[in-house]
Protein backbone atom coordinates (compact mmCIF):
# COMPACT_ATOMS: atom_id res chain seq x y z
CA UNK A 1 0.00 0.00 0.00
CA UNK A 2 1.69 3.18 -1.16
CA UNK A 3 1.48 6.52 0.60
CA UNK A 4 -0.21 8.17 -2.39
CA UNK A 5 -2.95 5.53 -2.36
CA UNK A 6 -3.57 6.05 1.38
CA UNK A 7 -3.77 9.84 1.00
CA UNK A 8 -6.11 9.64 -2.00
CA UNK A 9 -8.28 6.96 -0.37
CA UNK A 10 -8.67 8.97 2.85
CA UNK A 11 -9.47 12.13 0.84
CA UNK A 12 -12.05 10.33 -1.31
CA UNK A 13 -13.76 8.52 1.54
CA UNK A 14 -13.84 11.69 3.67
CA UNK A 15 -15.32 13.73 0.81
CA UNK A 16 -17.98 11.16 -0.01
CA UNK A 17 -18.90 10.49 3.62
CA UNK A 18 -19.26 14.25 4.17
CA UNK A 19 -21.39 14.45 1.01
CA UNK A 20 -23.81 11.94 2.51
CA UNK A 21 -23.72 13.25 6.09
CA UNK A 22 -23.60 17.06 6.12
CA UNK A 23 -26.69 19.09 6.94
CA UNK A 24 -26.53 21.85 4.31
CA UNK A 25 -27.16 20.42 0.83
CA UNK A 26 -24.80 22.90 -0.87
CA UNK A 27 -22.01 21.84 1.50
CA UNK A 28 -22.81 18.24 0.59
CA UNK A 29 -22.23 18.97 -3.11
CA UNK A 30 -18.98 20.82 -2.35
CA UNK A 31 -17.74 17.79 -0.38
CA UNK A 32 -18.91 15.62 -3.25
CA UNK A 33 -16.67 17.46 -5.73
CA UNK A 34 -13.75 16.68 -3.40
CA UNK A 35 -14.70 13.00 -3.49
CA UNK A 36 -15.04 13.00 -7.29
CA UNK A 37 -11.66 14.70 -7.68
CA UNK A 38 -10.16 12.05 -5.38
CA UNK A 39 -11.62 9.29 -7.58
CA UNK A 40 -10.15 11.03 -10.66
CA UNK A 41 -6.74 11.13 -8.95
CA UNK A 42 -7.08 7.39 -8.22
CA UNK A 43 -7.69 6.79 -11.95
CA UNK A 44 -4.57 8.80 -12.77
CA UNK A 45 -2.63 6.78 -10.23
CA UNK A 46 -3.82 3.56 -11.87
CA UNK A 47 -2.54 4.77 -15.25
CA UNK A 48 -5.90 5.59 -16.85
CA UNK A 49 -5.25 9.24 -17.71
CA UNK A 50 -8.10 9.63 -20.19
CA UNK A 51 -10.70 8.23 -17.78
CA UNK A 52 -9.36 10.45 -15.00
CA UNK A 53 -9.71 13.59 -17.10
CA UNK A 54 -13.16 12.48 -18.32
CA UNK A 55 -14.12 11.98 -14.66
CA UNK A 56 -13.07 15.54 -13.81
CA UNK A 57 -14.91 17.00 -16.81
CA UNK A 58 -18.13 15.01 -16.41
CA UNK A 59 -18.48 14.74 -12.64
CA UNK A 60 -16.70 17.76 -11.17
CA UNK A 61 -17.58 19.97 -14.15
CA UNK A 62 -21.10 18.91 -15.06
CA UNK A 63 -22.86 16.66 -12.54
CA UNK A 64 -21.86 18.69 -9.46
CA UNK A 65 -22.90 21.98 -11.12
CA UNK A 66 -26.20 20.40 -12.17
CA UNK A 67 -26.80 19.23 -8.59
CA UNK A 68 -26.03 22.72 -7.21
CA UNK A 69 -28.53 24.26 -9.66
CA UNK A 70 -31.18 21.70 -8.73
CA UNK A 71 -30.62 22.34 -5.00
CA UNK A 72 -30.88 26.12 -5.48
CA UNK A 73 -34.07 25.78 -7.54
CA UNK A 74 -35.75 23.52 -5.00
CA UNK A 75 -34.58 25.33 -1.88
CA UNK A 76 -37.28 26.21 0.64
CA UNK A 77 -36.97 27.74 4.12
CA UNK A 78 -38.74 24.80 5.81
CA UNK A 79 -36.25 22.31 4.43
CA UNK A 80 -33.48 23.91 6.49
CA UNK A 81 -35.35 23.08 9.71
CA UNK A 82 -36.56 19.56 8.95
CA UNK A 83 -34.36 16.60 10.01
CA UNK A 84 -31.61 15.52 7.63
CA UNK A 85 -32.11 11.77 7.84
CA UNK A 86 -35.27 9.82 7.18
CA UNK A 87 -37.23 8.11 9.93
CA UNK A 88 -35.76 4.73 8.93
CA UNK A 89 -32.11 5.80 9.27
CA UNK A 90 -31.16 2.99 11.69
CA UNK A 91 -32.34 0.40 9.17
CA UNK A 92 -30.45 2.14 6.34
CA UNK A 93 -27.22 2.29 8.33
CA UNK A 94 -27.46 -1.37 9.28
CA UNK A 95 -28.08 -2.39 5.65
CA UNK A 96 -25.13 -0.27 4.45
CA UNK A 97 -22.75 -1.73 7.03
CA UNK A 98 -23.95 -5.29 6.32
CA UNK A 99 -23.32 -4.80 2.59
CA UNK A 100 -19.81 -3.51 3.31
CA UNK A 101 -19.09 -6.42 5.67
CA UNK A 102 -20.15 -8.99 3.07
CA UNK A 103 -18.15 -7.31 0.27
CA UNK A 104 -15.02 -6.88 2.41
CA UNK A 105 -15.15 -10.49 3.60
CA UNK A 106 -15.50 -11.78 0.05
CA UNK A 107 -12.66 -9.60 -1.24
CA UNK A 108 -10.30 -10.62 1.56
CA UNK A 109 -10.93 -14.34 1.15
CA UNK A 110 -10.87 -14.41 -2.67
CA UNK A 111 -7.82 -16.25 -4.08
CA UNK A 112 -8.29 -14.48 -7.44
CA UNK A 113 -7.16 -11.26 -5.78
CA UNK A 114 -3.78 -12.72 -4.86
CA UNK A 115 -1.94 -11.54 -7.99
CA UNK A 116 1.07 -9.30 -7.57
CA UNK A 117 1.77 -5.92 -9.15
CA UNK A 118 1.96 -6.33 -12.96
CA UNK A 119 3.89 -3.80 -15.06
CA UNK A 120 2.10 -0.56 -15.89
CA UNK A 121 -0.08 -1.14 -18.99
CA UNK A 122 -0.22 1.55 -21.62
CA UNK A 123 -3.48 3.29 -22.54
CA UNK A 124 -2.66 6.32 -24.65
CA UNK A 125 -5.40 8.54 -26.05
CA UNK A 126 -4.50 7.27 -29.52
CA UNK A 127 -5.10 3.65 -28.49
CA UNK A 128 -8.42 4.56 -26.88
CA UNK A 129 -9.47 6.48 -30.00
CA UNK A 130 -8.49 3.53 -32.20
CA UNK A 131 -10.53 1.15 -30.08
CA UNK A 132 -13.52 3.52 -30.04
CA UNK A 133 -13.44 3.93 -33.82
CA UNK A 134 -12.98 0.25 -34.69
CA UNK A 135 -13.97 -2.32 -32.13
CA UNK A 136 -16.39 -0.20 -30.07
CA UNK A 137 -17.87 1.98 -32.80
CA UNK A 138 -21.41 0.58 -32.43
CA UNK A 139 -21.55 1.13 -28.64
CA UNK A 140 -20.18 4.64 -29.27
CA UNK A 141 -23.01 5.41 -31.72
CA UNK A 142 -25.61 4.02 -29.31
CA UNK A 143 -24.10 6.16 -26.55
CA UNK A 144 -24.47 9.25 -28.75
CA UNK A 145 -28.12 8.37 -29.33
CA UNK A 146 -28.67 7.80 -25.60
CA UNK A 147 -27.10 11.15 -24.69
CA UNK A 148 -29.24 12.96 -27.28
CA UNK A 149 -32.38 11.26 -26.01
CA UNK A 150 -31.44 12.07 -22.40
CA UNK A 151 -30.80 15.72 -23.31
CA UNK A 152 -34.17 16.12 -25.06
CA UNK A 153 -35.94 14.12 -22.37
CA UNK A 154 -34.46 16.20 -19.53
CA UNK A 155 -35.53 19.45 -21.24
CA UNK A 156 -39.05 18.15 -21.90
CA UNK A 157 -39.51 16.83 -18.35
CA UNK A 158 -38.15 19.95 -16.64
CA UNK A 159 -40.05 22.38 -18.91
CA UNK A 160 -42.62 24.61 -17.23
CA UNK A 161 -46.00 23.62 -18.63
CA UNK A 162 -47.65 26.95 -17.75
CA UNK A 163 -45.86 28.61 -20.66
CA UNK A 164 -47.62 26.29 -23.10
CA UNK A 165 -51.09 27.10 -21.86
CA UNK A 166 -50.84 30.81 -22.69
Amino acid sequence: MTLSFIVLAVLTVAGMAAAMGLRNAIHCVLALTLGFAGVAALYLQLGAQFVGLAQIMVYVGAVAILAVFAIMMTHSPESAKSPVFSSHWVMGGVVGMAVFAVLARTIRSNPLCAAGMPPQPEASVQQIGDALMHRYVLPLEIMGLLLTAALIGAVVIAMDRKEEMK
Partner: protein, 103 residues
Protein backbone atom coordinates in the same frame (compact mmCIF):
# COMPACT_ATOMS: atom_id res chain seq x y z
CA UNK B 1 -2.88 -7.25 1.27
CA UNK B 2 -2.03 -6.72 -2.38
CA UNK B 3 -2.84 -3.59 -4.44
CA UNK B 4 -5.93 -4.99 -6.17
CA UNK B 5 -7.53 -5.85 -2.82
CA UNK B 6 -6.89 -2.30 -1.59
CA UNK B 7 -8.73 -0.80 -4.54
CA UNK B 8 -11.60 -3.30 -4.24
CA UNK B 9 -11.96 -2.58 -0.52
CA UNK B 10 -11.95 1.18 -1.19
CA UNK B 11 -14.60 0.82 -3.86
CA UNK B 12 -16.80 -1.38 -1.68
CA UNK B 13 -16.50 1.22 1.09
CA UNK B 14 -17.57 3.97 -1.35
CA UNK B 15 -20.44 1.76 -2.54
CA UNK B 16 -21.62 1.24 1.05
CA UNK B 17 -21.42 4.99 1.76
CA UNK B 18 -23.52 5.67 -1.34
CA UNK B 19 -26.02 2.96 -0.47
CA UNK B 20 -26.36 4.21 3.11
CA UNK B 21 -26.89 7.75 1.79
CA UNK B 22 -29.58 6.56 -0.63
CA UNK B 23 -31.36 4.75 2.20
CA UNK B 24 -31.19 7.42 4.92
CA UNK B 25 -31.22 10.89 3.28
CA UNK B 26 -34.51 12.76 3.02
CA UNK B 27 -33.51 15.16 0.23
CA UNK B 28 -34.25 13.60 -3.18
CA UNK B 29 -31.27 15.34 -4.84
CA UNK B 30 -28.87 13.85 -2.30
CA UNK B 31 -30.39 10.42 -2.90
CA UNK B 32 -29.53 10.86 -6.59
CA UNK B 33 -26.00 11.87 -5.58
CA UNK B 34 -25.78 8.65 -3.55
CA UNK B 35 -26.57 6.71 -6.73
CA UNK B 36 -23.73 8.57 -8.46
CA UNK B 37 -21.40 7.49 -5.64
CA UNK B 38 -22.34 3.85 -6.22
CA UNK B 39 -21.67 4.22 -9.97
CA UNK B 40 -18.28 5.76 -9.17
CA UNK B 41 -17.43 2.80 -6.96
CA UNK B 42 -18.23 0.45 -9.87
CA UNK B 43 -16.00 2.53 -12.15
CA UNK B 44 -13.07 2.21 -9.73
CA UNK B 45 -13.55 -1.56 -9.92
CA UNK B 46 -13.48 -1.49 -13.73
CA UNK B 47 -10.24 0.49 -13.81
CA UNK B 48 -8.62 -1.58 -11.04
CA UNK B 49 -9.42 -4.86 -12.80
CA UNK B 50 -8.10 -3.39 -16.06
CA UNK B 51 -4.85 -2.36 -14.35
CA UNK B 52 -4.26 -5.66 -12.53
CA UNK B 53 -5.98 -8.01 -14.98
CA UNK B 54 -4.27 -10.51 -17.29
CA UNK B 55 -4.86 -8.69 -20.61
CA UNK B 56 -4.77 -4.90 -20.17
CA UNK B 57 -3.89 -4.17 -23.80
CA UNK B 58 -7.48 -4.95 -24.84
CA UNK B 59 -8.60 -1.77 -22.99
CA UNK B 60 -11.88 -3.42 -22.00
CA UNK B 61 -11.96 -1.93 -18.51
CA UNK B 62 -11.27 1.58 -19.83
CA UNK B 63 -14.09 1.28 -22.37
CA UNK B 64 -16.49 -0.01 -19.73
CA UNK B 65 -15.59 2.90 -17.45
CA UNK B 66 -16.01 5.48 -20.23
CA UNK B 67 -19.44 4.16 -21.25
CA UNK B 68 -20.46 3.89 -17.61
CA UNK B 69 -19.50 7.56 -17.04
CA UNK B 70 -21.63 8.61 -20.03
CA UNK B 71 -24.63 6.60 -18.84
CA UNK B 72 -24.21 8.12 -15.37
CA UNK B 73 -24.19 11.63 -16.86
CA UNK B 74 -27.40 10.93 -18.81
CA UNK B 75 -28.96 9.42 -15.68
CA UNK B 76 -28.04 12.47 -13.58
CA UNK B 77 -29.56 14.88 -16.13
CA UNK B 78 -32.85 12.97 -16.43
CA UNK B 79 -33.01 12.27 -12.69
CA UNK B 80 -32.58 15.91 -11.72
CA UNK B 81 -35.20 16.91 -14.34
CA UNK B 82 -37.63 14.41 -12.79
CA UNK B 83 -36.90 15.81 -9.32
CA UNK B 84 -37.57 19.36 -10.59
CA UNK B 85 -40.88 18.22 -12.13
CA UNK B 86 -41.84 16.45 -8.88
CA UNK B 87 -40.88 19.58 -6.91
CA UNK B 88 -43.11 21.71 -9.13
CA UNK B 89 -45.95 19.28 -8.47
CA UNK B 90 -45.62 18.80 -4.70
CA UNK B 91 -43.50 21.87 -3.66
CA UNK B 92 -41.06 19.69 -1.71
CA UNK B 93 -38.03 17.45 -2.28
CA UNK B 94 -38.49 15.74 1.07
CA UNK B 95 -38.95 12.05 0.36
CA UNK B 96 -40.78 11.43 3.66
CA UNK B 97 -43.48 13.88 2.54
CA UNK B 98 -43.87 12.39 -0.95
CA UNK B 99 -46.16 9.65 0.30
CA UNK B 100 -49.31 10.07 -1.82
CA UNK B 101 -49.01 6.44 -3.00
CA UNK B 102 -48.98 5.18 0.60
CA UNK B 103 -51.98 3.03 1.51
Amino acid sequence: MNPLQNYLLLSSLLFSIGLTGVLIRRNAILVLIGIELMLNAANINFIAFWRFGPNPSALTGIMFALFSISVAAAEAAVGLAIILAAYRHSRTTDLDQMNSLKG
